[in-house]
């Protein structure tokens, strides 16, 4: 292969990385730690709606939910961002004006990315012009699996340029790349090509985010930081539905990258249904007893 990365890409042992990831599921998070973790998870949430049936009304509700996820007495922080399709960006930006909550937009022919590059770049520019602060692009998985790494790298760089000041999250769709060696390779490639965040999945393909896949990405980010001093963010997306799972991810971040990454600037959850369980668990912790799920908003 003629394409050369600046940093070496170490091998990943499947059994070993899965065993390591499972150790993060064994941490027991209780009391104050749990309260801190749950609130942190809410503050890291890219509250997402990506449906063909999205309407202005749905986006409005989502934006207002992101500003105040729970009743005020719980002192729950706002979500990190609201993530929508490009057509809803302008409306979301208007809704969130003055709140400090950024609008993230999926782009580049999300979720397949199977469109000509010119159209994908136009998609990005359009979303940015409409007010998106963050762009969640998809890589060309087909091109990657063909072994054409140079082209994947060039495309990411081109999208980064099209983003201008907007932050770029690079989605790998790890469920389609499948092996941990691929995940490590594409992570390094996306980081070197200019991505600000690396993200597991679109949420449209199963399996989406898993602990071991995210661990491989965190380790790539760690090695890149130690080598260059540049901090890259990580976003697992799709498949994380319970507060318990979210806390396991935070444990993994804490023990792999340390304190600096326990912040919405460098770690995000892409999820639509996770927030409900986080609310339920937070209320239980504060009120002392579980309440009926009927007391929590579903959308």
């Amino acid at each position: 292969m003629s394409f050369v990365l600046k940093s070496p890409v170490p091998r990943i042992d499947q059994v070993g990385v899965e065993e390591r990831a499972s150790t993060f599921q064994k941490r027991s998070i209780k009391n104050e730690a749990k309260a801190i973790g749950l609130k942190l998870a809410v503050s890291m949430m890219d509250l997402t709606t990506l449906e063909g049936a999205d309407t202005k009304g749905k986006v409005t509700r989502l934006c207002r939910k992101a500003r105040q996820p729970m009743a005020k007495r719980y002192h729950c922080p706002p979500c990190a961002a609201v993530c929508v399709y490009p057509n809803q960006v302008a409306h979301a930006a208007k809704e969130l004006e003055g709140t400090g909550i950024p609008v993230a937009s999926v782009a580049t022919g999300f979720p397949s990315g199977q469109y000509p590059l010119a159209l994908r770049l136009a998609d990005v520019k359009d979303a940015v012009n409409s007010g998106a602060h963050e762009i969640d692009m998809v890589i060309s998985r087909g091109t990657f699996l063909e072994g054409n790494l140079a082209e994947v790298s060039d495309e990411i760089s081109a999208v980064k340029e099209a983003c201008g000041k907007a932050h770029l999250k690079v989605i790998f769709e790890t469920g389609e790349l499948q092996t941990y060696d691929h995940v490590r390779l594409v992570s390094q490639l996306a980081i070197e090509a200019g991505g600000d965040f690396i993200k597991t999945s679109t949420g449209k393909v199963s399996p989406a985010a898993t602990l071991p896949v995210t661990l491989v990405m965190l380790e790539t980010v760690r090695d890149h930081y130690l080598e260059t001093g540049r901090r890259i963010g990580v976003k697992p997306a799709g498949g994380i539905r319970t507060a318990k799972e979210a806390l396991q991810y935070l444990v993994m971040v804490k023990e792999t990258l340390g304190d600096d990454w326990l912040s919405p600037d460098l770690f995000r959850f892409g999820a639509s249904s996770l927030l409900g369980d986080l609310e339920l668990q937070l209320a239980k912790l504060i009120d002392g007893n579980y309440q009926s799920a009927d007391y929590f908003s579903k959308s």
Partner: protein, 486 residues
């Protein structure tokens, strides 16, 4: 390359709150001897203290067996062998073992807590490793009880008689299971001496034998120190000795058994080489090395206590290891988030500290985690030495603590030479992404158990035992039966 400019901060953000296991356990103030199916006071009336190594305080008083008690226990075992257990239908013996295994499973939480209180190991390990393996060993050998003819085709396997067994303090209940289960499955009866610092779970195992209705005398448990062990080993009514422990004591036992008709198996010390090649999956190799040396505070005879690392990746690997030991949580063994518990005893801590001091005096560089240690009890930070050479004591002697010795090699041939340059030969590890290399290196290593791209994995179906001064005989698997039949 060593990276010096940028550091990760493993501080107090999202700090885990204490998560101690609740302890409504059936811990008693005093434990008696278990002879002929009953708990009886020692003839001498003397007791010793079992200490909780996490705070240095007394946990319970344990009856100390002397010559008279051992004699009583051996006679009981002999009687049970001749009258009950020996003549019993093999399938019936199997049923007792299955019953014992099931009761162990039911009581595993309580036993895990007791094991952690008495021995200092983290509850995470006693709960997820020790107890599941204890039950698994009884289940496994229960299955063999009525199938021994298939285990030894063409032969008519007969039990040996009374087995005298002496076990160590690092896996108290698990070592009892390794010894008792195959002995009983083959039709032998047992007198077993738990280690002086960790007798409590053995005495709870005795209660389980009672609950299972095991006939009196089939298993007798005689706690005590070295003299109790010597009384058992030298007793003329014993047909077979099985010992797990230090090489020094193993040699004494071999001498005392010489010239008698007693059979002997020994599972002794180790100084295993964990060989890491430059084509390994490096982050997973770091985890394997951590597991290899810090599992159970390094109180593991097959611990990967010598790290042989290919020179080209030495600095990178050491940097990763340095960062990783900072995230190990040392402290209360009963806290579910504890990775490294207490050192088993004051004496063991002293031995570890002496060897560490020697390592520094001999010129190796010590690296330790910066973690805080509790004020009371016996603790040692996870540590490793770099710049070790084969002539250093820390490269040759078993430290039996959370201290790793790191050496470098240049070629696979040199790795093999260094790995085999020891009086021990219990275990070894190989880390490479290249399958052919695994097989070629494994063929050349003189070690009883070899792990590739993993470490410290145990299973009752797999034989375990050593080369050279790590002992002889195998425990576990089909091979483990051979030590208990003639």
């Amino acid at each position: 390359m060593e990276r010096k400019k940028h550091h990760l901060k493993f501080g107090s953000a999202f700090d885990y709150a204490p998560a101690p296991e609740t302890t409504p356990v059936a811990l008693k103030k005093q434990y008696e001897l278990f002879i002929h199916g009953e708990f009886v006071a020692p003839a001498s009336g003397s007791y010793f203290n079992s200490i909780n190594p996490a705070n240095g305080k007394r946990l319970a008083r344990i009856a100390k067996a002397d010559h008279a008690d051992v004699d009583r226990a051996v006679k009981s075992a002999r009687q049970a062998f001749g009258n009950v257990w020996g003549p019993m239908d093999a399938a019936e013996r199997g049923k007792y073992l299955f019953r014992i295994a099931r009761i162990i499973q039911e009581k595993s939480r309580e036993l895990a807590i007791l094991e952690s209180m008495d021995g200092g190991k983290p509850i995470k390990e006693s709960r997820d490793v020790d107890l599941p393996l204890v039950a698994a060993h009884f289940f496994y050998y229960a299955g063999w009880a009525d199938k021994l003819k298939y285990a030894f085709p063409g032969k008519a396997p007969e039990p040996l008689g009374v087995a005298g067994q002496v076990i160590p303090w690092n896996f108290p209940l698990l070592m009892a299971a390794w010894k008792i289960a195959p002995a009983l499955a083959c039709g032998n009866t047992v007198v077993i001496k738990p280690a002086e610092t960790t007798s409590i779970t053995a005495m709870h195992l005795a209660e389980i034998f009672q609950e299972a209705g095991l006939p009196p005398g089939v298993v007798n448990i005689v706690p005590g120190a070295g003299d109790t062990g010597a009384a058992l080993v030298e007793h003329e009514g014993v047909d077979k000795i099985a010992f797990t422990g230090s090489t020094a004591v193993g040699k004494r036992i071999a001498r005392s058994v010489a010239g008698t008709s007693k059979r002997l198996t020994l599972e002794l010390g180790g100084k295993a080489a964990n060989i890491v090649f430059d084509d390994c999956a490096i982050d997973q190799a770091v985890e394997g090395v951590i597991n290899g040396i810090y599992f159970n505070q390094g109180h593991v005879c097959c611990a990967g206590s010598r790290l042989l690392i290919q020179e080209s990746i030495h600095d990178d690997f050491v940097a990763r290891l340095t960062r990783r030991i900072e995230t190990l949580r040392v402290g209360d063994p009963l806290d579910k988030n504890t990775d490294i518990g207490a050192i088993n005893s004051k004496a063991q801590l002293k031995r570890i500290q002496e060897l560490v001091k020697t390592g520094e005096e001999e010129g190796a560089e010590l690296h330790s985690s910066s973690c805080p240690l509790p004020d009371e009890g016996f603790w040692h930070r996870p540590s490793f030495f770099t710049g070790v050479t084969s002539s250093h004591r820390v490269a040759r002697e078993e430290i039996f603590g959370p201290v790793l010795s790191i050496m470098t090699f240049r070629t696979p041939a040199e790795a093999v030479t260094l790995a085999n340059d020891t009086c021990y030969g219990l275990s070894a590890g190989i880390w490479t992404d290249k399958g052919s290399k695994i097989f070629s290196i494994a063929d050349q290593l003189k070690a009883g158990v070899i792990w590739a791209n993993t470490f410290n994995k145990f299973d009752p179906t797999s034989p375990f035992g050593g080369y050279k001064e790590s002992g002889f005989g195998r425990e576990g698997g089909l091979q483990g039966l051979a030590a208990y039949v003639k």
